[in-house]
Symmetry: D2
Subunit: 284 residues, 4 copies
């Protein structure tokens, strides 16, 4: 895989931004493999992603940043840059259900998703053996009514120890406290088993069954303090009918959940997502 730098920019829309940025990159001989822009006429903001071959530049990431800062200051750019050679460090949180965890671990070990998985944390022991077969440390952090503060303190320490930058709730069945939501803002990813904003909260498939909908879905989103209301990264649905009981929907929904989570996570890992308020811009 070619090593690349991914430069993400967000700023008030104005004439000349693309020119200035692409001129800067071209002047240094930078080879742009992929470029995506978006102008939002409602918010008046401009978004841009450039993926640049690392070996086309005569200097490293640090120097790039130093030099780029002056342009950024001039044009008032919010920006960040990531090196594909430094994959995201992703902690997976799971409970008992294995479909998302299992799918992500397959994609990791096959190289389909480029990330490091320094650890898996679970409030149950069920998945230990499967995780450990992969050579990944498994941490059991039980959560019950009385120990929540302790449990989340432990989790916070683990995430810090492993220098995790992204946390994925792979059907982790506990509500994350606001402090952790803040600490991992726009880096804490959940898969909710409904097509949000329909069926927020617990047992969405049962809610879907009661309402008699003809499609059920899944939503991959960043977690915020407000339950199931964070910026949506990806969604998809699957057809159901009167002959599907809630347990059938649970079963069918798993296929959508794991695919939607994997696709949403990919956007995040490839540094394609910019969060703006309650929404995401996916520069793909």
């Amino acid at each position: 895989m070619t090593r690349t730098y991914r430069l993400l920019i967000s700023c008030p829309d104005a004439s000349g931004i693309v020119a200035a940025v692409s001129q800067f990159i071209a002047r240094e001989g930078g080879w742009i493999l992929e470029a995506n822009h978006h102008s939002d006429p409602v918010t008046g903001r401009f978004y841009m992603r450039n993926e640049i071959r690392a070996d086309s530049l005569p200097f490293g990431l640090e120097e790039f940043c130093t030099r780029f800062q002056s342009i950024a200051d001039e044009l008032k750019l919010d920006w960040r840059i990531n090196d594909s050679g430094q994959p995201h460090r992703v902690a997976l949180l799971a409970s008992k259900q294995a479909h998302c965890l299992s799918d992500l671990l397959y994609r990791w070990r096959s190289g389909d998703l480029s990330m490091d998985i320094p650890c898996v944390i679970s409030n149950h022991e069920d998945l230990r053996s499967f995780v450990e077969w992969h050579g990944i440390p498994f941490h059991y952090v039980p959560v019950d009514r009385d120990n929540k503060a302790v449990a989340y303190q432990r989790m916070k320490e683990l995430l810090a120890e492993y220098t995790v930058d992204t946390v994925v709730l792979a059907r982790y069945m506990q509500i994350i406290p606001p402090e952790l939501c803040d600490l991992y803002e726009n880096r804490l990813i959940n898969i909710h088993h409904s097509f949000l904003p329909s069926f927020v909260g617990a047992k969405p498939y049962h809610q879907a069954y009661d309402r008699g909908v003809k499609l059920v879905g899944a939503t991959c989103h960043y977690v915020t303090e407000e339950l199931d209301a964070g910026p949506i990264i990806e969604q998809d649905v699957i057809r159901v009918g009167h002959n599907h009981l809630p347990e059938d929907m649970v079963r069918l929904g798993k296929d959508v959940e794991k695919t939607v989570l994997a696709h949403g996570l990919r956007y995040h890992l490839e540094d394609r997502v910019i969060v703006d308020g309650r929404k995401t811009i996916i520069l793909d």
Copy 2:
């Protein structure tokens, strides 16, 4: 098209129902072209649709009904039967937007949907000429804040005059009064421009835009007194992204709306829908 009788049955589930019904049909030499059953383990009810060649029976519909009634009494069946030779009489209600109306009229004139359209009623004059080109009477019934009672009385009379059995709201932008909902219970079909239960009420695409969803949809449902809460017949969705403004969603959504309405209406016209509480059973 072969003329058929469509026999729909709903009853408490029990052993021997299929045997009794199919034996009755077979005894008279009835040729079943299509049979669909559904047992609901939650409600304990059984649903059945048989489509029988009319010319395979030695008697007509009336005689069939008389003879079948004794079985129905014995087994406590809710049932109805329709003759495909007597297509439903469908009134279309529209406002200014033409995409659903235009699509339904095409399907009607091409024979894709088997129905009679005795009239179109609208609260605007815009679509008169297009409707009249089809040779269908167009009635302008304006609705404004002060004349609602009068307007709906007029509409009720028109529907009665034309002996309409089914009313389709083809993006008709007015709320139907409870009296008409009751009168046309399970025969009054709406297309709502969202994937219900998300985005009930007005401007669903704007709501979808504000929430940043990645799919928008449409829902075909029977109208009940509670706004956008009636039994769902059909739904579908289409992918959108950060680059779609509300007006783009409106445009893209039209394709889904017209297809979902046409598919939902087809189920109704072919007598495939049984409503049970808040849900539909589609015997297809």
Copy 3:
């Protein structure tokens, strides 16, 4: 899970078949959980699946068969019956790619797919450890140009030893010899990585790339002697664009392949598939 008998029937269409069969079941007190019929007006054949609660009958499977045979003789029925309490014994054949194997093993260990997996056979050693973690015997049967006869003889013996009834090619990259195709007729399932009949044979994603198609797909089918031409059980597609290289299509296609294989296999495991000539009837 309620234990059930699944009765599949295929015969020339005629009046009275449903009546006779359902009467036979009802007479013995049999409780039909699910019933599906299909009449094919082109071939003039009738197909039927009844799923009957085992505990609703006063006798076992053997006695059922004895008694049913007389009806079957009279009505000239092709029929078979399977006991859900005796899950299919499925051998998985794989090569190096793990996505389908990994997905099927997850569905097996989570109970999503009801089957026994007595063994996995592969022409490579790569997946041994992952398979053995599941407690499933792994057999390495290398296949090369010069030893094909020996290799397939060994495979045949293994399948016999393990009394396998169904063989799944989970991206097994070797062509199965006609003898094995015959031996496991309608029980040998392949996943082909294209939307057949497009792109038969090797490297379908490269063929798709060269042709510039906007969707790529996967096909689950029974294997026959003619390459990629057997009866199709299930298919699906995924959207691609000009920005996808063949390797991207390979990656994206995996999600479709594993889902399509799992869905197709489920139909087979639940005894929902009747093969008629080059086609399948899926009684679902």
Copy 4:
């Protein structure tokens, strides 16, 4: 609708192209509403589309072209530019089936598709009245075995008289002669009623039925001399089953055909399509 210029560029990939082009636009104060790039690592070509507000430039289209030509010469760009204020002039060709024609005419009269339709040409009289209701001239040009040369000469004259730039075959059931294919290269759009490359030629739904596929589709493509082999613009599919006869597939397929044609045509009308060899790049 804001008036825009759409600048399309295709050239060998190299560092500095985006910089040069965007600098040129910025220097003149041009406001880019939408920008899309694509680098193809296989062919080594670069593609770019800029949509620029017309009123942000201090000069008109002609002057833009003059000034841009020097950059184009320097960087060896293939380029073209279109003014959204000069909609494409599209002739529709149809036979007897109305679903695509009817759908396109609706989109035209509602403003959903921005184009002029100077005329409709048909080898049958069936659709005359419907077309003429729209105020569009209808030309009957019968085509039979013996008069083909005359018919296509007449068609060519009509297209010239009406200064048509794009021809859409809206289920026009005749093969277009090579001369016309050449004359309207990359401007002659067909909708084929299968998911190409499956089922080339006549009666694709019957071919699909015979093969027992589980999805049928439609393909919108530019017409070339080789039958159904031109560059694909858009495709989609719909699910079918063993219970669908060829005539059901025909009916279901119509929904896909009309949507796929409309979407493909939109890309063309918005100047989003660059043809490269046998493929399209859709800059969307």
